[in-house]
């Protein structure tokens, strides 16, 4: 049995690549180690009658071109934008956030007139930075050391965009990239809770604190998405994040692709420097003209390819690739809606993301814990109750609560996480919520605590890093995953990468998968079955 392409891993990027290759007429098989598909975009029933989005939990970055090309809505994908959010303050107050800019400005004014004034200027400046970055998401990063026409063209493209801005805007851009979000926000705002709210997107998923230089860029990474064209908006996937990958698998089946779940790849078969297939645990072999890995770059090249097949320099680069996890997840089945005493009853804030960290200092201190190799004693949480908008995930009156928690280090003081550590970590999170919502603990029917250890074991994210590699400049664009291998190819012929370890990085975006498919099809001299980037919107 011979395939044109074997994709290792049925995560969202693996499926996106598979779909595009299948649409181009290739015979494609996706091999997934778990019995279920989806990687970190899954809906799982871990408690009778309840569906959990137990890894990724919100959607915004998924590229609309991909939704359209793969006809995901037709296969059941529906994104429900959420309405607001709030930061609950230690003093009992709160900062509400809404989907409407002017409503937000009024809410800011309630805390600081000056900050309300600054908010317009801030939004305008951030949006400008976004506009520069967004088009780069769906392009293969050029190799600045190469003189190949395509690389030169891409460099020209970026240069044109850059010099298309005014001189001052160019400086603002360069400066922004180098800054910490804390310093950046200080230039606009004065009120701690407003800064704390705005800093959130700059730390989610990273091993950086809000005071770390370079964190400002990460903010962009989370602002580049949209829901139905509302740039920066976020939403829930109806039925949980799994419905994204489920829709992809249906789309794949429709174009003749095949998925084999419950089959874990032991190693990639390499013959005279070419990948010719994979060997499964148990020895079965699958042969194919090319192999595409959705696994992170460390798993792919340090665990699944024999070292002798790789140049030593490359192996060293991969070893030095930074992929430290920084977050954990607590998923909770609730008997009812918790009552946050700070929030007005039925406030739309319930139907969005809730934070309990009301100052950048508290966020940074949480990060200091991570640096010291322990989970945060006063963690940052991005907490949601998707079932207030999407009732399909739980029985009537019951709710699912998703708590994304930072910081949780990959190792505890250099040692492995123990079950005891994990439970303590879970307690820390629950206690924090309970301190804002009396009686919260009595509502808990079931909960699942996931540390970087669980994320690695189950999803295969090395060190539990949700982006398959940290998002610092030394690992972005032409540096991602490693310099010289930033174009989805690897030193081994016919072995490709399509995971979040590659440009433009993590989040349920699908861009790496699509870019990888585009590169593969270009090599095969096949027409690209994809709408132009940004043709949608």
């Amino acid at each position: 049995m011979n395939y044109d392409a074997i994709i290792i891993g049925a995560g969202h990027n693996g499926l996106v690549t598979a779909c595009y290759l299948a649409k181009a007429g290739l015979k494609v098989v996706v091999v997934e180690k778990n019995d279920w598909i989806g990687g970190a975009a899954v809906s799982r029933s871990l408690y009778p009658g309840f569906t959990y989005s137990n890894c990724s939990y919100v959607s915004s970055l998924l590229r609309p071109e991909i939704m359209r090309d793969l006809e995901l809505p037709k296969y059941g994908l529906q994104i429900l934008p959420y309405e607001g959010g709030a930061v609950l303050q230690q003093d009992g107050g709160y900062l509400a956030m809404y989907r409407d800019h002017d409503a937000n400005r009024r809410e800011f004014a309630r805390h600081s007139k000056r900050d309300a004034e600054a908010y317009d200027r801030y939004s305008r400046d951030i949006l400008r930075h976004c506009r520069f970055i967004r088009p780069l998401l769906m392009r293969t990063p050029p190799d600045p050391t190469s003189f190949r026409p395509r690389d030169l063209n891409e460099l020209m493209y970026i240069g044109k965009k850059f010099f298309g801005m005014t001189e001052t805007e160019r400086y603002e851009m360069v400066r922004f990239w180098a800054m910490s979000i804390s310093d950046y926000l200080d230039e606009y705002f004065e009120h701690p809770v407003i800064k704390a709210y705005l800093a959130v997107s700059a730390i989610i998923g990273t091993a950086l604190g809000p005071m770390s230089p370079g964190s400002a860029y990460v903010l962009l990474h989370h602002y580049m998405g949209d829901v139905d064209g509302n740039i920066g908006a976020w939403g829930f996937a109806r039925g949980g994040m799994g419905s994204i990958t489920q829709a992809m698998s249906k789309s794949l089946a429709a174009s003749g692709g095949e998925i084999r779940a419950g089959k874990s790849v032991d190693r990639v078969l390499v013959k005279n420097g070419r990948a010719i297939g994979v060997v499964l645990d148990g020895g079965d072999e699958i042969h194919g003209k090319l192999v595409v890995s959705n696994m992170d770059v460390k798993r792919t090249f340090l665990k699944t390819v024999e070292e002798k097949e790789l140049p030593p320099a490359f192996v060293k680069q991969v070893r030095n690739f930074k992929i430290r996890g920084s977050s954990g997840k607590v998923n909770i089945a609730l008997d009812g809606v918790p009552n946050f005493k700070a929030l007005p009853k039925d406030s739309p804030c319930y139907r969005g993301d809730l934070h309990f960290t009301d100052s950048i200092e508290r966020m940074e201190k949480a990060y200091d814990d991570w640096k010291a190799g322990r989970w945060s004693r006063d963690p940052f949480q991005d907490t949601m109750i998707p079932t207030l908008i999407d009732p399909t995930m739980t029985p009537p009156g019951k709710h699912f609560m998703s708590c994304f928690v930072q910081y949780a280090p990959p190792k505890i003081n250099g040692g492995e996480w123990t079950d005891k550590d994990r439970d303590e970590f879970g307690k820390t999170v629950i206690n924090q919520i309970a301190s804002y919502a009396p009686g919260f603990k009595d509502l808990i029917l079931h909960m699942e605590v996931r540390t970087p250890r669980e994320l690695e074991r189950e999803v295969g994210l090395t060190e539990g890093n949700i982006f398959q590699g940290e998002l610092t400049f030394d690992q972005l664009l032409f540096n991602r995953p490693v310099p010289g291998a930033s174009q989805y190819r690897s030193p081994i012929k016919d072995l490709w990468m399509c995971g979040s370890s590659t440009h433009p990085g993590g989040g349920v975006m699908g861009a790496p998968g699509r870019n990888a498919a585009a590169e593969i099809l270009r090599d095969l001299k096949k027409p690209l079955p994809m709408s132009d980037a940004y043709a949608v919107l």
């Binding site: 600045p144 050391t145 010099f163 001189e167 001052t168 160019r170 400086y171 603002e172 360069v174 400066r175 180098a178 800054m179 310093d183 200080d186 230039e187 950086l208 005071m211 770390s212 230089p213 370079g214 320099a313 030095n320 930074k322 200092e361 940074e364 201190k365 200091d368 640096k371 010291a372 610092t472 400049f473 030394d474 032409f478 540096n479 310099p483 010289g484």
Partner: protein, 508 residues
């Protein structure tokens, strides 16, 4: 008709360098220095009867060769090419000799020796590529802005000349943090600790902060460490003497109150005592914030400029410690004729950094120690010594209680590395950020007059729109450490600024 071509505000090393360069070109220059002697951060003082010490900077490694030769400074040194000792509390020290650890004395694994040599070579290669930037006006990202095209082209070739693999590595390391690089390449905590310390010396960064490696490259682009005879004051004195010989007038104890703006043009300055002096060009070699917000004043500036000047980051988190010792301290056998560094590991430096983010001082500070009296006579009574240390991290604002507590922590740290040193102390002096601001005009206590950080380098220094030593106000120029390429006893900023001015005047 003004009698001077240029007035220079501030007689620090940059002010003097600029004055000298302009005078060499035949310009008539007047320098105003608010202190009793010119020199700014380069000064020697007697902080206790019979004990002399360099009051701020205590080692020389960035002095611009153009300044030294151009002004014909004949500096005499107590020591050059000084080695660095990475102190170990157990007395198991490492000594980095030659050009930043060419050779390393002490117990170090063969593996680390090899990887250190590779890493060091690589860093020096990259630093060499960046060095030329220091000796030129920073380019701007625009057309027709007077960029030094030829120099830039040369630089471009140099960077390309690195070769493909090096170039890729160069671009990867440009904005990386130093901790990751050290952990990737080395095992030994003492070695990693001292390199991490050198990287963040004078910065509001920890070794784990992204962009930190860039500061190490900047440091390695300098010269080797040396100790001027008689302390830093002798460097300032030599510079002052040299520029006066070139016809520059230096007026000390003359504090400038304001820059006079007539019809949106700088026409001269008004002194504290009311004197008004006019000149074709007014050049500020003092802190940019002070220059724009105090001397010029918001009413003459766009809100954009006021905001940008106000936003310059200037967090100085180092304190200067001076100890008068009635005997010879023993750092567990360490050679006192070296630079002594207390930074036991990368983690130690990072942990020391954490508190300052919240306005608190380090419980376990890290520091660089020099004992000048071990190198030369005359700085302390016979058999006695002066110890000079730069200690990190302390917040900018400290009340008397915090000061006392921090000094206690510093002495406790010293005691573990040099048991009994406490008993030798005759007198101690600690200069905090506030003191440095009061005495030397380092706003926020930052001796670069603006943090040296990626977001405040090159065309972003001192702030957007004021790079290339020019300002929005005709006739007002900048020449201080707040401008490219930053501080340290260097004179580069002043020299570059003067060259820029001469060039632009030539153009007109």
């Amino acid at each position: 008709m003004p009698s001077y071509d240029a007035i220079i505000i501030g007689g620090g090393t940059n002010g003097l360098a600029a004055a000298g360069r302009l005078a060499k070109a035949g310009r008539k220059v007047l320098v105003f220095e608010s202190a009793a002697v010119a020199g700014g951060g380069a000064t020697t003082k007697e902080f206790a009867k019979g004990y002399k010490v360099s009051a701020v900077a205590h080692l020389l490694n960035l002095l611009d060769p153009r300044v030294e030769q151009g002004l014909g400074l004949h500096l005499s040194f107590a020591a050059t090419n000084i080695s660095t000792t990475a102190l170990s509390p157990k007395g198991d020290h490492l000594v980095l000799q030659g050009n930043y650890g060419e050779t390393i004395a002490g117990s170090l694994s063969e593996a680390d020796r090899t990887s250190w040599e590779d890493l060091r070579q690589k860093l020096l290669r990259f630093a060499a590529v960046l060095r030329p930037f220091k000796a030129m006006t920073t380019p701007r990202l625009g057309k027709g802005v007077g960029n030094e095209i030829i120099k830039l082209a040369g630089l471009g070739l140099k960077i390309r000349g690195l070769g493909r693999d090096d170039l890729r590595e160069f671009m990867r390391l440009m904005l990386i943090n130093v901790a990751d690089v050290l952990d990737d390449e080395l095992k030994d905590d003492r070695l990693k600790g001292v390199v991490a310390f050198d990287t963040v010396l004078g910065a509001h960064l920890g070794p784990r902060s992204p962009n930190s490696l860039l500061l190490l490259l900047n440091r390695l682009a300098g010269e080797t460490l040396s100790l001027p005879a008689g302390g830093m004051g002798s460097v300032a004195a030599a510079m002052a003497k040299a520029v006066q010989a070139l016809g520059v007038d230096i007026r000390v104890n003359a504090k400038v109150k304001s820059v006079n703006i007539v019809g949106d043009k700088a026409t001269g300055v008004t002194l504290q005592n009311g004197d008004v002096i006019d000149a074709k060009t007014v050049i500020s070699a003092i802190n940019p914030k002070t220059t724009f917000l105090d001397l010029v004043g918001p009413r003459h500036l766009d809100t954009g400029i006021v905001r940008r000047a106000g936003n310059i980051l200037m967090r100085g988190n180092a304190v200067k410690l001076h100890l008068a010792l009635k005997g010879t301290p023993d750092f567990k056998g360490a050679d006192l004729k070296t630079r002594l560094v207390i930074a036991p590991s990368v983690r130690a430096v990072e942990d020391a950094f954490n508190p300052v983010k919240y306005g608190e001082f380090s419980e376990n500070p890290v520091m660089e120690i020099v004992i000048p009296s071990a190198f030369e006579e005359g700085l302390a009574p016979k058999g006695h010594h002066v110890l000079s240390a730069i200690v990190q991290y302390a917040p900018v604002v400290m009340d008397t209680k915090a000061r006392a507590a921090f000094l206690k922590r510093i002495m406790a740290t010293l005691e573990t590395y040099a048991p009994g040193i406490g008993k030798l102390v005759v007198k101690s002096e600690m200069l905090t950020a506030e003191d440095l601001e009061k005495q030397y005009g380092f706003v926020g206590g930052n001796w670069h007059h603006g943090e040296l950080a990626a977001e405040q380098m090159l065309f972003l220094r001192p702030f957007i729109g004021a790079a290339q030593y020019e300002t929005a106000i005709p006739g007002l120029r900048l020449a201080g450490a707040g401008s490219h390429p930053g501080g340290g006893i260097s004179g580069a900023a002043g020299w570059n600024a003067a060259e820029r001015i001469l060039k632009s005047e030539g153009r007109r």
